[in-house]
Point group: C2
Chain length 396, copies 2
């Protein structure tokens, strides 16, 4: 991670610390705090079963006066009933007490194991100290991102600094996630902050658009989690109005896109990042549906693990996606080499393509299913024995 990229928006401070939730003793508690009220928007998991923090968060955004976010890792506070809800609220109440704001102006997320009561006393006891250590430095941002991690192997931060008219605005995102990742937000948490001036309504539109083109176009294992949350918080400390700024919307989308790619790159046990392009579908939704079927196929993933340009597994996964297309209109290239054209396999240098898959930064798969305008770029990871080991040994 190149933290020199990190441009911290004005008025925002971050901290990460140890509450003692994780047996490992690693950092497991972070706060992000604004020195003034911020417009806030949120996007949440579409799973029917949700963690307590999701229930709390849904009731608090969009909003115009949010002052901070508190996130713990190590325990997802999911399946914890009424006590879990009270624990989530207590976390916000404690941070609000430190900040000197209403409980309702603090947001909360939790990630980690499911179905165990939060060790809430430890968390509440740790919040003041972590809050006290807050800073606007890249190191503090890094500490905060690290405290969100579960099975992640590196903290995930992305940032942009843009001009709007004569003013400068900063956008900074922190995320976590390495598995239970699927479209519609799966065990991933993201907090994107900016010092632009934005209404809650505009923040909401910008965030939903950005998430739809980033976090909702990645999958590690197709498992939509119960805790997924992304917040966008705009505190206006730059004094620069971001309403109607395409550049700001792009910056938020780019930050989300970078974070999403980091999550796939950090996918549990993964050896390959797979960049899948589906084109020629009837519409974008059709392309997304086909991309998901291909991306979630264990057979496609394991073929990539083996550096095998196995067009049969890719084309047949597209074929069961449930979106109609004409099989004779299907073409496929892997690593830029055409392997299947208009329904028929073509001769190609399998050794060379396999070597490219093995050696490259990512495996590029381009699937065309017809002549329609629907297209999408979708990111996923391969499936390795290490993924299985991680997920069969990580117990309740």
């Amino acid at each position: 991670m190149n933290f020199s990229l990190c441009s911290v928006p004005a008025g925002w401070k971050f901290a990460g610390g140890v509450a003692g939730i994780k047996e490992s003793g690693s950092a497991d508690l972070m706060v992000a705090v604004s020195d003034r009220p911020a417009s806030a928007a949120g996007v949440f998991t579409r799973n029917l079963v949700v963690g307590a923090p999701v229930t709390v968060g849904r009731g608090r955004v969009p909003a115009g006066a949010v002052r901070g976010v508190v996130i713990n890792s190590g325990n997802a506070n999911t399946g914890t009933g009424a006590k879990g809800l009270e624990d989530a609220r207590a976390m916000t109440r404690t941070l609000a007490g430190e900040i000197g704001c209403d409980e309702g102006d603090v947001l909360v997320c939790s990630t980690g194991i499911i179905g165990h009561m939060l060790p809430v006393e430890k968390i509440l006891a740790a919040i003041p100290g972590v809050y006290e250590s807050r800073a606007e430095t890249p190191a503090a941002v890094r500490d905060a991102a690290a405290a969100m991690m579960t099975t992640d192997t590196f903290p995930k931060v992305a940032s942009r600094e843009i001009k709007i008219g004569d003013g400068t605005v900063r956008v900074l995102g922190l995320a976590k996630g390495a598995a239970m990742i699927a479209p519609d937000m799966a065990t991933m948490l993201g907090v994107v902050v900016t010092d632009a001036v934005l209404s809650p309504e505009t923040a909401d539109v910008i965030l939903k658009t950005a998430v739809d083109d980033s976090f909702n176009l990645i999958s590690v294992d197709g498992h939509t989690s119960t805790s997924d949350t992304v917040f966008l918080l705009a505190n206006g400390a730059s004094g620069v109005d971001g309403e109607g700024s395409a550049a700001l919307a792009s910056a938020v989308a780019e930050v989300c896109g970078e974070l999403a790619e980091m999550i796939v790159r950090d996918a549990e046990g993964a050896e390959h990042l797979i960049e899948l392009h589906v084109a020629g579908a009837a519409d974008r939704d059709g392309a997304v549906t086909i991309a998901k079927a291909v991306a979630n196929s264990a057979l496609v993933k394991t073929a990539v693990t083996g550096n095998d340009p196995n067009w049969g597994r890719i084309v047949s996964a597209a074929g069961y996606a449930g979106m109609p297309f004409e099989p004779t209109a299907v073409s496929l290239s892997v690593e830029g080499v055409s392997v299947y054209e208009r329904g028929t396999p073509v001769g190609f240098d399998e050794e060379a393509v396999s070597a490219a898959m093995r050696d490259g930064d990512r495996v590029r798969i381009e699937l065309t299913v017809g002549d329609g305008p629907g297209r999408v770029r979708f990111l996923t990871s391969d499936l390795t024995a290490e993924y299985v080991r991680l997920n069969s040994e990580y117990t309740t």
Copy 2:
């Protein structure tokens, strides 16, 4: 396999042999032949992309005068265009020549790697010898089933002998499949023969019902293949009328159910058979949709691999299935032990449940999602590092 169970229907003979398609030199060609015309029905993959034999088969059933089936393993004859279609027809033409019937009265299946032209000359040259060796013995049935195998570790045969009035009727099924298995028929082939008298129309109804309750309720990896086919062939050699016999329909369903369970038990790399019961859904389709989401979750599968009664992964997989239910109405038991009741985890002896998962013949998961009448029993397998190894090393 207990082949003493095998009751061969009258008028049917089987053989398996070596055509030389597989580099290993293992058996890769089988025939099943009736001494008289048989009513025939077929069920095929719903993948948009299908192998040439599926295209040929769809045009030949239901029918009233089928004399035989020829199946090769080692090469699926899929993605092979017009030449593949001609190769599939040539296989039927060659067997028809031996039998002395019309080409259209022979059915064909192929399974194995996708996208390579069939070594059709080898196959056509081998058909007469394999046909010549046909017999009505259990050993011949076993040889035929073995010649259908790809990554299977054992041949799959099931049979029933039933009384209809004063007469006796036999039902015998042969199947293959160990991966690319998902509802709606995925790289699995099945041939069920009987000596009952049946019209093609009744055979069609009996087969579709049986497949819907067996092969369509199993999943190994969620990958619906391009070649899946199950045939039911009734040659009437017993002289016993099976029209309207519930016993015969049950026998066919039981044979299909046994074969389907064998396929899941032989799932590539699997260490656990998972028997998943979903109840309380609005209707059967809803139960099936939820069961598929749970069964295809890599996180659920790897939890079972680790003997972990991880209710969080199971309940959350149900939650993203796309079927509405009330989270507080969800209850779950694993190995008969209640672990989650009406939306809340309950205390249980994790060590004891884990030991039961490790030691038992199968892992039994019972998920209730409400008070509706929709229920289903669904079989799947766990996901192991060995599955990944098999599927990353088995190349095009």
